[in-house]
């Protein structure tokens, strides 16, 4: 059959019956541009792999010097005091949503971000003049600059507010502990019956060792310590300085009996 086709009329793709299109949309070849063109391989790639090596080197320095964070304990769905924080690249959306009171959340979560996403997706059809220089496309350029500035600002605000929130939470927990503790005992009263070691910990120790005893930047974890009660009492009384920093003496000023209970409570976290 094939040889019956009039070869001068129609061209086909390979041995198929698909007709070859006459005009192509492809841009003109680079040989028509001025300047020094070179083949991708080997000329270009054998120089450009250097850029990748530098990039990988910097990346591995980051990886080795900053271990990926992992909290000390698995998720606890009942922990109502945990202040959630999405990964940093979602923070701007998270922050944006905060400006919308609960009834209007759909605007902050869906409608406005969705509108911008749509603009972004349709950019080639909204900005269709052939000019490509940013200066010749003032609307597109300035819109993008404003959006980028907005994203940076919202991300920054989110971080600042999260920090303030965590600090306020810690302060109120400490206050709470103070109220729960039986009046920071006049020392001789020694009302051991009502002494609450957890509250004392929250008040005197949690600022450095963390509310969950898992440690902070300021002090090491107190979970699964390999110490005796007497040793911990000694640390509470006299403080300690070592490779992980300085713990001042007298952070808790209760009776010897209360120190012992506090030490026992700390050591019960294994």
């Amino acid at each position: 059959m094939a040889h019956e086709r009039n070869k001068n009329d129609v061209k086909y793709v390979g041995d198929s019956r698909v007709k070859v299109r006459k005009e192509k949309l492809y841009p003109k070849p680079y040989s028509e541009y001025p300047g020094k063109t070179e083949p991708f391989f080997p000329n270009f790639l054998l120089k450009e792999w250097m850029a990748a090596v530098v990039f990988l080197g910097a990346f591995m320095v980051l990886v080795v010097s900053h271990p990926a964070p992992l909290e000390a304990t698995p998720a606890d769905p009942n922990d109502t005091s945990y202040i959630p924080l999405p990964d940093w690249y979602f923070l701007f959306l998270y922050q944006f949503l905060k400006y919308f009171p609960s009834g209007t959340a759909v605007w902050g979560a869906v409608i406005i971000p969705g509108f911008f996403a749509l603009l972004f997706l349709l950019a080639p059809w909204l900005d269709r003049k052939p000019d490509r220089r940013p200066s010749k496309r003032p609307i597109a350029t300035s819109l993008m600059l404003i959006v980028v500035a907005g994203i940076v600002f919202l991300t920054y605000e989110a971080v600042v507010q999260h920090k303030a929130q965590v600090e306020a939470m810690e302060a109120s927990a400490a206050q709470h502990a103070q109220q729960a503790a039986p009046a920071p005992a006049p020392q001789d009263q020694g009302t051991t019956a009502t002494f609450d070691p957890e509250a004392a910990y929250m008040q005197s120790c949690s600022a450095c060792h963390g509310q969950d005893l898992a440690g902070t930047a300021a002090a090491p974890s107190l979970i699964a310590l390999n110490l005796t009660v007497d040793e911990v009492v000694d640390i509470i009384t006299n403080g300690r300085s070592g490779s992980q920093g300085v713990m001042p003496p007298g952070m808790f000023s209760g009776t010897e009996e209360q120190k012992k209970q506090l030490a026992e409570w700390v050591l019960s976290h294994q």
């Binding site: 949309l25 492809y26 841009p27 003109k28 070849p29 680079y30 541009y33 001025p34 300047g35 020094k36 063109t37 070179e38 083949p39 991708f40 391989f41 080997p42 000329n43 270009f44 450009e48 850029a51 990748a52 990346f59 990886v63 080795v64 900053h66 271990p67 990926a68 964070p69 992992l70 909290e71 304990t73 698995p74 998720a75 769905p77 945990y82 959630p84 924080l85 999405p86 990964d87 940093w88 690249y89 979602f90 959306l93 998270y94 959340a105 759909v106 979560a109 869906v110 997706l121 950019a123 080639p124 269709r128 052939p130 000019d131 490509r132 940013p134 496309r137 597109a140 350029t141 980028v148």
Partner: protein
């Protein structure tokens, strides 16, 4: 010897045109940092791809240790992080790579935007790019839950609450992602499957299209 094997294969499979097409295409002067240093902005796409490769490789090794259930997930990550030799490096690469990929993607997008490279005839490659962006964000969101500590758990909970706000579709989307009414045992298996099977498959498909289109259309000319 290698030449002989290659010739044998080439005779049957006609290999040369495939790799010569990749190797021989011309790199124009205006995108080559060796000629104009400012052309480094054209490297961001390639560096994004490079980081995606890092993510895929480190992710494959993470999957050798990770157990996607609420009892073992956290402990398996902790074990990898603290006990396995070089485990913290593998996890660190995946953790930081997830951020680097977003940074590079953002820079690449800005480069394409400000050079007006999305204009005809490259509109469809821009659309493919936007889809790639969405897929990468999806990978970030689903991956964040997997270590199953409080940070992971509550961020996901908030994310799903936000998804629920979407009119009409919201509750279905939330239910589909969470696998139930709460963030729990079924959520983690779903997120795991989405993170390691569904989204990477879509990602590779879109990347293939992205690169084929770049080869077809060539990179946009000088400004």
């Amino acid at each position: 010897m290698i030449q002989k094997v290659y010739d044998w294969l080439d005779e049957r499979l006609d290999l040369s045109p495939i790799w010569r097409d990749i190797a021989d295409h011309e790199v124009p002067e205006h995108v080559n940092p060796a000629h104009h240093f400012s052309a480094f902005v054209y490297c961001f796409g390639g560096l994004t791809f490079f980081t995606v490769v890092i993510q895929i490789l480190s992710g494959m090794f993470l999957a050798m240790f990770y157990a996607p259930d609420i009892v073992n997930a956290f402990n398996s990550v902790k074990y990898l992080q603290t006990e396995v030799s070089f485990g913290y490096i593998v996890r660190g690469m995946h953790h930081w790579g997830a951020s680097v990929v977003i940074v590079m993607l953002f820079l690449h997008t800005l480069r394409v935007f400000f050079t007006g490279a999305y204009k005809a005839p490259r509109e469809m490659n821009w659309v493919v790019g936007v889809l790639l962006f969405a897929v990468i964000l999806g990978l970030g969101f689903t991956g964040y839950l997997l270590p199953w500590d409080n940070k992971a758990y509550f961020a996901t909970k908030v994310g799903l609450q936000i998804a629920e706000v979407v009119p009409v579709l919201g509750p279905y989307v939330k239910h589909f992602l969470a696998g139930g009414d709460i963030v729990g045992a079924e959520t983690i298996t779903r997120f795991f499957a989405i993170h390691v099977f569904f989204l990477p498959a879509i990602l590779l498909l879109l990347l293939g299209v992205h690169f084929i289109l770049i080869r077809r259309q060539g990179i946009a000319g000088p400004l």
